[in-house]
């Protein structure tokens, strides 16, 4: 069987078996609920434009309606007008809390308790402005000339350190995004490690390896579980965006689609890096009981990345420390999305971070695959990592020389293919108006081009 078909069949089993698992289904539903709930809450609870309910009693009050609307808008507020039949009705509405202020016959104001609310100021100013307007009109100006005199054009503002983003709301957004990324990475990484240990401890791996090379088995498992993780994240992110758009209220911050795309993209990159490490550690232990301790270093590293991202978010996203850790491959999956959304990280820096991450991932894959194929058939006492890495091939060679190269090439090929697709999707999601998106698209297309040209390279002869 070709390495490609072997990888696919292994991945297929992971997809089918795991999508049947109750734990997996619960996690999907939970993350979906959390992201949709969070998006709705964010959209509804964030105060958008503050609004005032103004009651109008009598024809002269009603005539003030347009002026009140104008004044409210000028003050950065919104006025909802309610025509009322009588003062009694107005008093009732005020006491019931349905109105903020009532204008009686254009001449008096009625409030519940406080004289100095924003609503009162809006109505006062509107009435005053209306009387000025009336006089200006009386002096022969047209309505529009009069209005222009009353509302002079605002002065242009020069900003020394432009920050077009709404920091506070974006901060909440990215915390949720990075948290979801972190959780999904850990969840699927652990699932992979457990799957590897399960195959080893149940000895089923002996049966599998009679027909499949260790590298194909590893690649298939990484791929199958990764696709599930990606699907879960994309589903949750998409549902959150949709829910935010439909929820009304202030909606989600405009950076939301970009943030989702970044999180999805860095999930792919982070998963490629961490998953193989999880698999290698899973192959080192022979019993599920030993697994949690064994994967601790990886989960600690990821947790570290998550907390660094949180610190970046809460202190200075452009600080020196934040700028540096964004380029540290094990941490960048969590830190870069935060720096991109909140800080001033630009497209070139993003490309550099991605490149460094891919480089580190290639190294990690080479190391982890080596450990995995040497450890997966060894049972008994836990194996020392260093010994495995330095073992001479003669002692534990599982594949013929030619097969190793082919398996490896297929694996690298798949990683490249994956990254390319993720980049292109991320670019499209962000939207072509954004330079980041164009860079992502370009990078993705470049990878696809690279992959195509690789195919035409002559194969290295196998000895």
């Amino acid at each position: 069987m070709s390495a490609r078909r072997a990888v696919w069949e292994v991945a297929r089993r992971e997809l089918v078996e795991r999508s049947r698992s109750r734990v997996m289904r619960i996690s999907v539903v939970l993350l979906l609920l959390l992201s949709v709930g969070g998006a709705i809450a964010s959209a509804r609870l964030t105060s958008g434009t503050p609004s005032d309910d103004v009651g109008l009693v009598g024809a002269r009050s009603a005539a003030m309606g347009p002026a009140i609307q104008l004044q409210a808008r000028a003050a950065g507020r919104r006025a909802r007008l309610h025509d009322l039949a009588s003062t009694t009705a107005a008093s009732q509405a005020l006491r019931g809390g349905n109105l903020d202020v009532v204008l009686l016959d254009g001449a008096r104001l009625l409030v519940k308790s406080s004289r100095s609310t924003a609503a009162v100021r809006v109505v006062q100013d509107a009435v005053a402005a209306q009387s000025v307007l009336d006089r200006l009109r009386g002096s022969g100006l047209t309505e529009s000339q009069a209005l222009e005199m009353l509302t002079p054009r605002p002065l242009p503002i020069d900003v020394l350190e432009p920050n077009t983003r709404n920091i506070d709301r974006n901060r909440g957004l990215i915390v949720v995004g990075v948290l979801a990324l972190f959780m999904v990475l850990i969840f699927y990484g652990q699932a992979l490690a457990q799957g590897v240990t399960e195959e080893k401890s149940s000895r089923v791996v002996e049966l599998l390896l009679t027909s499949v090379t260790p590298r194909s088995l590893l690649a298939g498992k990484v791929l199958g579980i990764g696709v599930l993780g990606l699907a879960q994240l994309v589903l949750a992110g998409g549902a959150a965006l949709l829910a935010g758009a439909l929820a009304g209220g202030a909606g989600l911050p405009s950076a939301a689609p970009g943030a989702v795309a970044l999180v999805v993209m860095w999930f792919v990159l982070g998963y490629a890096f961490y998953s193989v490490a999880f698999a290698a550690v899973g192959a080192l232990v022979s019993r599920q009981e030993d697994l949690q301790t064994a994967i601790m270093p990886i989960t600690l590293l990821m947790t570290g990345g998550f907390y660094v991202a949180l610190i970046v978010v809460n202190t200075d996203p452009n600080g020196t420390a934040a700028q540096i850790v964004a380029f540290v491959p094990p941490l960048s999956p969590m830190v870069v999305p935060a720096r991109m959304v909140l800080g001033n990280m630009n497209t070139i820096e993003l490309a550099l971070a991605v490149a460094l991450d891919l480089l580190a991932t290639a190294g990690m894959i080479a190391l982890a695959a080596r450990v995995y194929e040497r450890a997966i058939l060894r049972t008994g006492a836990p194996i020392k990592l260093r010994r495995l890495v330095t073992l001479r091939a003669r002692h534990s060679e599982l594949t013929a020389p030619g097969e190793t190269h082919r398996g490896h090439a297929a694996f690298v090929d798949l990683v490249v293919q994956w990254s390319a697709v993720a980049l292109v999707i991320a670019g499209v999601l962000i939207g072509l108006s954004d330079p980041v998106a164009i860079a992502l698209l370009a990078l993705g297309l470049a990878l696809i081009g690279l992959r195509q040209s690789r195919k035409h390279w002559p194969r290295r002869p196998a000895h």
Binding site: E17, S202, R203, T210, E403
Partner: protein, 297 residues
């Protein structure tokens, strides 16, 4: 006739030489028993054949050509430490193994159905493996080795822990596979069963081949044994016989192992003087006796 051949296969783990210069061949269509004490190197040898371990030197050939990934895919293997996914359904699992060995999903499903029916597990296809009894798990394990219609069968202790009925089923299936033209190599400690089932055996000890060939030939070539049953024997009657060793002595019965210079008629004379002889016959050694003869204690 095609054969599975081992040529001077050697494998060591550190200082320990697990398999030492091992050569034998299993002809297509033959049941071949592979026996040896625990730790003699049987499992290591089988793992080398299946490609799970690389030999330090020597080669494994099938039909005269070294075994590569394509041939390995056509091997049916039953590992000693049983290996199945505990939480996966029986039917899905067998289909998966068939597919990994190159079958299409339909072929895999079809073969799974027919093997489960054949092994009496037709109604357990949807059950998780961990829910099955030990014996049934072993049947599934056998099905996993057979579901891709293998060209070569390598079974490590297939009879371990089976009840007599399951043993019969296993024997029938192995005979059937051999009749189909498949070389069947299996290891076992149940030497009577091996003797009964196999045309040929290989006995290894400390990684070295100590006896190999058709069972009948080996038995004929083994030590000459003589059984003498005596009633009211005088104790010590068998002392001082020429070139004779007592292999077994139970009340009244003595089995002698005769050396080249031993004379059975002299023993008969001596026996008649010692008591009344009720049974006197030359014996062919059983495989067990042969085994005890050739392996180090």
């Amino acid at each position: 006739m095609r054969a599975l051949e081992l040529q001077a296969v050697r494998r060591s783990f550190g200082e320990l030489v697990a398999v030492d210069d091992l050569s034998f061949s299993v002809l297509a269509g033959r049941l071949f028993g592979f026996v040896g004490r625990n730790g003699a190197g049987k499992t290591t040898t089988m793992r080398i054949i299946c490609g799970l371990l690389a030999a330090d030197s020597g080669s494994v050939l099938w039909g005269g050509a070294p075994i590569d990934a394509r041939v390995r895919e056509r091997i049916g293997y039953m590992p000693e430490e049983r290996g199945l996914y505990p939480k996966m359904r029986v039917g899905d699992q067998l289909e998966y193994f068939a597919v990994l060995h190159g079958a299409s999903h339909e072929e895999g499903r079809e073969a799974t159905r027919s093997w489960l029916d054949r092994l009496g597990l037709g109604d357990r296809s949807g059950a998780r493996v961990e829910a099955l009894s030990h014996g049934n798990q072993q049947r599934v394990q056998l099905a996993a080795a057979l579901v891709h219609d293998p060209d070569v069968l390598i079974l490590d202790e297939p009879f371990a822990g089976l009840d007599p009925i399951a043993t019969d089923v296993m024997s029938d299936v192995l005979r059937e596979q051999a009749a189909r033209g498949v070389p069947v190599l299996f290891s076992s400690h149940q030497l009577e069963l091996v003797e009964h089932l196999c045309e040929s055996v290989a006995i290894i000890d400390h990684g070295r081949l100590v006896a190999c060939g058709p069972v009948d030939e080996l038995r004929r070539g083994g030590p000459r044994l003589l059984r003498v049953d005596l009633r009211d024997a005088r104790p010590g009657w068998a002392d001082e016989l020429l070139d004779v060793e007592v292999a077994e002595r139970t009340n009244g019965r003595t089995v002698f192992k005769l050396g080249p210079k031993a004379d059975s008629q002299q023993i008969l004379d001596r026996a008649r003087r010692a008591g009344s002889v009720t049974h006197f016959a030359e014996l062919q050694p059983t495989l067990s006796e042969l085994f005890r003869e050739v392996v180090s204690p």
